[in-house]
Amino acid sequence: MTEKRASGGFYAWLLQRITGVVLAVLLIAHFIVTHGLPHPSGVTYARIAPRLATPTWKVIDMLFLACALYHGLNGVWMVLQDYVESEGMQTFLFGVLCVLGAILFFLGAITVIPFAVQA
């Protein structure tokens, strides 16, 4: 049989569900607040920047970023596990996803955290 692993997937499974719920709530807020649904309006600096500069929204956006990246990349990992047979290749791709996640998180963090409105 397959090799034994302690907790092979419970936390990944649980986190996928928790981040999923968090994302659903944040997305509704995102659609209404940022995109003005159900009355869509264009996204302009003047409309977006002041809110993004507040600490509360920085925290919310960082949470949004972390949940979205975890949920998305873990989803890709589940798909890869299904269609990549070789264990070595799987490990390699897992590494690629981790690096990709780290880069995107960094890119998002340097956008959000130091943000201040410019004239």
Binding site: R17, G20, V21, L23, A24, L27, F31, L37, P38, H39, P40, S41, G42, V43, T44, Y45, A46, I48, A49, L52, L65, A68, L69, G72, L73, G75, V76, V79, L104, L107, G108, I110, T111, P114, F115, Q118, A119
Partner: protein
């Protein structure tokens, strides 16, 4: 022994197969979008001029139309995800999974109209002017 036999007829799809395949496709599409989104929004650091220039490009009529597809992907993935959680965490959800799917899709469809119609109107305005 024949390890990978050829198949005469594809295995029959039912509601669960559709739900799963669509969940994967919309999920992968959303990850692709997420990468673009993080990259595009990063331009906000460059100040009002640079940001509005980039946003002008990604809010061209073509993209406004594609955003309808994005809304569809988000709503499907969210509500099918909720179905999966109802199936997993509720006592009766597993046996009533088809009903749960129907109910979730009805809500997703309603929200798609609620958000999608104004978005489509916005798209039409953008072509007109």
């Amino acid at each position: 022994m024949l390890e990978r036999p050829n198949v005469i007829k594809h295995y029959r799809w039912h509601m669960g197969t559709w739900a799963w395949v669509l969940h994967r496709i919309t999920g992968l599409a959303l990850v692709f979008y997420l990468v673009l989104h993080i990259w595009v929004i990063h331009n906000i650091s460059s100040g009002p001029k640079g940001f509005d220039k980039v946003m002008g490009v990604v809010q061209a009529p073509l993209f406004l139309f594609l955003e309808l597809g994005l809304l569809g992907c988000v709503l499907y993935h969210t509500f099918n995800g909720l179905r999966i959680m109802i199936v997993e965490f509720s006592k009766e959800g597993c046996e009533a999974h088809k009903m749960v799917w129907g109910a979730m899709m009805a809500v997703a469809g309603f929200l798609f109209l609620l958000g999608g119609v104004p978005m489509f109107v916005h798209f039409l305005h953008s072509i007109a002017g």
